[in-house]
């Protein structure tokens, strides 16, 4: 069954430090993976998806099929990056537009 694991519940870093939010997955097909972010008092929104290979707000994520990982990285954290981050993948294998399964989420706290 499809599964997403985010091992860290909380990650605290100082401003300017590198950030890596971990995500491991279990998926039978060719995975499409997403990172969603929820800032305080805002709705959940898409941060990036691996298929687009883009960098949003300085964040990148590389799909590593060998390690079944999709870690989210940013070289220099900013205070405005403080938020809850969710890794997600499709609930149904190789089906576009399907619902997503979410990891438990990691709270990123960036302090000055």
């Amino acid at each position: 069954a499809q599964r997403v694991t985010q091992p860290e519940k909380l990650l605290s870093v100082f401003k300017g430090a590198p950030v890596e939010l971990k995500c491991n997955y279990s998926y039978s097909g060719s995975p499409e993976l997403f990172w969603y972010v929820q800032y305080s008092r805002q709705r959940l929104q898409l941060l990036l998806r691996h298929i687009s290979r883009e960098s949003i707000k300085g964040f990148t994520a590389d799909l590593n099929k060998g390690e079944t990982s999709f870690h989210l990285k940013k070289p220099f954290a900013q205070e405005e990056d403080s938020a809850m981050y969710y890794c997600a993948l499709p609930a149904k294998i190789d089906q576009a537009g399907t619902a997503l399964i979410f990891g438990k989420g990691t709270t990123l706290s960036v302090s000055s």
Binding site: A99, L100, G103
Partner: protein, 112 residues
């Protein structure tokens, strides 16, 4: 993208009563999803609502407890029936468009 209006944004309800949550989208979408986010937990998919057919429920969720309507391609409702304190949660409406998921702002439900 899709703009989703969800209401009510929050409600406090008495045990044994029912609450209907509405979700309105600014464009026609085939698939709409309802999620639950319990305190300190990740998002859990309740059901998929397609226009013109009955909703498909995930394991652990049943139609009698969470009846869903999908009268057209821009609107859906989720009813939380015969509520108990365990139903206290955030309920989220979501739509898939261009292979991305967009979310409503959520309904925070507290059951006394």
């Amino acid at each position: 993208s899709a703009v989703i209006s969800q209401k009510p944004s929050r409600d406090i309800c008495q045990r044994g009563t029912s609450l209907t949550i509405q979700c309105q989208v600014d464009s026609q979408v085939t698939m709409m999803f309802w999620y639950r986010q319990q305190p300190g937990q990740s998002l859990t998919l309740i059901a998929t609502a397609n226009q013109g057919s009955e909703a498909t429920y995930e394991s652990g969720f049943v139609i009698d407890k969470f009846p869903i309507s999908r009268p057209n391609l821009t609107f859906s409702t989720l009813t939380v029936s015969n509520m108990s304190p365990e139903d206290s949660s955030i309920y989220l409406c979501s739509v898939a468009t261009n292979e991305k998921l967009f979310f409503g702002s959520g309904t925070q439900l507290s059951v006394l």
